[in-house]
């Protein structure tokens, strides 16, 4: 079962239950050899889309094609699709080596070959010395590596990874993320689909980004393009962590006016926009602490949290709440007064219906 060069083609796939719509009219062509990252919030339908491709959910409408084959008519066990779950799923009664051999043996590979291939794969994921242990005797990160080895060893036409790093701690997540890129690039010739809620993982791993929201793909493209040009406020919120701050604003007489409290001359990239009411967005990392001009305002800290090597500051202003990301670890008290200002040349402008009007560009 050599990973071949066939497209995975979704044609208006929909899934709904009696009470809710899970996936709505998804059409997309996935090409082999690329890593596609599905990004979206927890209930956006990422997992459902993967389970539909795998055959664990039956689409209520639409077709799934894999090359010439009509995939949605093939039973799960004949689809030849590998999947890695968010939880670390391995067969607890088999050793690590037997776990990795199992899919090969099921696919009809001879015993000797299966063992050789499984050992080679364990070498790749760095688990050779643990081959005789049971999964329960390994750490979480190692267990997930076993699951990934099991998925990669068959070299399937499609490999699905559903938030595989979600349940790991921060350090391990970064380390495995590094390994993944080389591992997938060197091993998987099929279509690789990777679901995550983390923009950083998406930017790091993805050749192509699909932003999912409420069961639809609302934007797709190269990760950095999507990041720089979110097509709507929803996309901007999903691909930024912490989410982008959105404030009501008005452009009038060559000035941007936010609630009559923050004003600044219209920056170059917004010059061509008509006067009127808009929503502006600003990334947490691009909000500036301090400033005394008219584009600054004083507010109070409503929450301060340290995340890794950064400090997130939620500041309550009269015009709304602004999230601010600071390098390094800082100590702020809740209720403390701080002055913040916006960087006019980094402002995203959205129409009142949420669609992108202008982006600051790189």
């Amino acid at each position: 079962m050599k990973g071949s060069t066939v497209n995975l083609d979704l044609r208006s796939v929909s899934v709904d239950t009696e009470t809710e719509v899970i996936l709505k009219d998804i059409s997309f062509k996935f090409e082999p050899g690329k890593i596609y990252v599905l990004i979206g919030r927890t209930t956006s339908g990422k997992t459902s889309l993967m389970r539909t491709i795998a055959g664990l959910i039956e689409p209520t409408d639409g077709e799934i094609h894999l090359g010439e084959e009509r995939l949605d008519e093939v039973p799960i066990w004949d689809r030849g699709i590998a999947m890695v779950y968010q939880q670390f799923i391995n067969y607890p009664h088999r050793t690590v080596l037997n776990n990795v051999e199992f899919p090969l043996l099921r696919a009809g590979v001879s015993k000797a070959d299966a063992k050789a291939q499984a050992l080679a794969m364990l070498e790749k994921v760095g688990l050779s010395e643990f081959k005789d242990r049971k999964p329960s005797q390994l750490s979480g990160g190692q267990q997930q590596r076993v699951a990934i080895a099991r998925a990669l060893v068959r070299n399937t036409r499609v490999i699905l990874l559903d938030e595989p790093l979600m349940n790991l701690d921060y350090k391990l997540r970064e380390q495995l993320r590094e390994e993944f890129r080389t591992l997938f690039k060197g091993t998987a010739d099929g279509v690789t689909i990777y679901a995550t809620t983390e923009p950083s993982e998406a930017l790091f791993l993805g050749d192509e980004l699909l932003v999912m929201h409420e069961g639809r793909v609302i934007q797709h493209g190269k990760p950095d393009f999507v990041f720089e040009n979110p097509s709507s406020i929803d996309v901007a919120q999903i691909v930024n962590d912490p989410p982008m701050t959105i404030l009501d604003a008005e452009i009038k007489d060559g000035k941007v006016n936010i609630g009559n409290l923050i004003t600044f001359p219209t920056p170059a990239h917004l010059k061509s926009e008509k006067d009127g009411k808009y929503k502006i967005g600003t990334r947490a990392s691009e909000v500036i602490l301090g400033g005394s001009e008219s584009n600054s305002e004083e507010g109070t800290v409503s929450l301060s949290e340290v995340s890794g090597s950064e400090t997130l500051l939620y500041v309550k202003l009269n015009v709304g709440e602004v999230v601010l990301q600071l390098e390094g670890i800082h100590d702020y008290q809740i209720g403390q007064a701080v002055t913040i200002s916006l960087a006019p040349n980094r402002i995203f402008l959205f129409n009142m219906d949420g669609t992108l009007c202008a982006a600051p560009g790189n």
């Binding site: 664990l56 039973p75 066990w77 590998a82 939880q87 670390f88 799923i89």
Partner: protein
């Protein structure tokens, strides 16, 4: 203080359970004089132990032979347990993983239907079963008794195992299917091996209930197939001396006690940690 309470409770309870048993054990080795002239407890010191009681029940003295009933009991228990486990685990797996139903009646109702079979006192079923087996010409046969016992054991097995399967993550079945197993292969190759502790517990329950069944054996079998509980009760009704009766009681529980020790070791080794963290 808590510890004292705990241990005194354990001590009192063990005494409560063990004293009658050990008394029966001691009595089974007593000569007539040791029983008739007041209570005695300690062999060799208070009386000289004899094997008379044991000779009476093992056919050596020609009084009674409990070996044929033992074999009957073992056969009937073995097959009814085997059938209930085989079909019970499949039913339980289905109820745990798939949805069945008709109108408003769904899986939980089906499970309740299974266990409701045990709510009825067996006496209610005696006449229907008697007529049924008579019609099928299965009265006083091992097959007839196996079928009736199975109908009582299956609900227990299903009820216990549904709960057990529910605790095994569904993702393991899905994984097996994604890796090329059809649902039946996924069940046999990955779920059953993981379910060993559950199967052991359910099997143990089935064996105990089957082994100790007196009522159905009494009603549905006569002379051809006599099970151990029936044989022991039959001894009780005659002029059998106490030492022989005690020996028969010990004789009939020995196989289960032995089994319990074996299973206990097996159970503590089981466990399915590590499927999901």
């Amino acid at each position: 203080m808590k510890k004292i309470l705990k241990y005194s409770f354990i001590f009192i309870w063990s005494t409560f359970v063990l004293v009658p048993l050990s008394w029966a054990l001691v009595t089974s080795f007593k000569p007539p004089a040791a029983v008739n002239n007041g209570a005695t407890f300690i062999p060799w010191l208070q009386f000289q132990p004899t094997l008379d009681g044991w000779k009476d029940i093992t056919g050596i003295s020609g009084y009674a032979n409990l070996f044929p009933p033992l074999i009957n009991s073992a056969t009937v228990t073995f097959f009814s347990t085997l059938i209930s486990l085989t079909f019970g685990c499949m039913a339980a797996y289905g109820l745990s993983r798939f949805s069945y139903g008709w109108k408003n009646y769904k899986n939980p109702d089906i499970i309740f239907f299974f266990i409701s079979q045990r709510i009825m006192p067996p006496a209610v079923l005696a006449v229907p079963f008697f007529i049924l087996l008579k019609t099928l010409h299965l009265l006083d046969t091992k097959l007839g008794l196996v079928l009736v016992l199975t109908s009582g054991l299956m609900p227990i097995v299903v009820w216990l195992l549904v709960d057990f399967f529910n605790q095994l993550p569904k993702e393991i079945d899905e994984m097996a299917m994604l890796e090329g197993c059809n649902p039946f292969e996924a069940f046999v190759r990955t779920i059953l091996p993981l379910a060993r502790p559950g199967l052991t517990v359910a099997g143990m329950f089935a064996i105990i209930f089957g082994w100790n069944d007196l009522f159905f054996a009494l009603v549905l079998t006569f002379t051809n197939v006599q099970t151990l509980p029936v044989a022991v009760v039959a001894l009780n009704g005659t002029v059998t001396p106490f030492w022989t009766l005690s020996a028969s009681a010990i004789f009939s529980i020995l196989p289960l006690v032995g089994l319990a020790f074996v299973v206990e070791r097996f159970l503590s080794k089981g466990g399915f940690a590590g499927a999901v963290r």
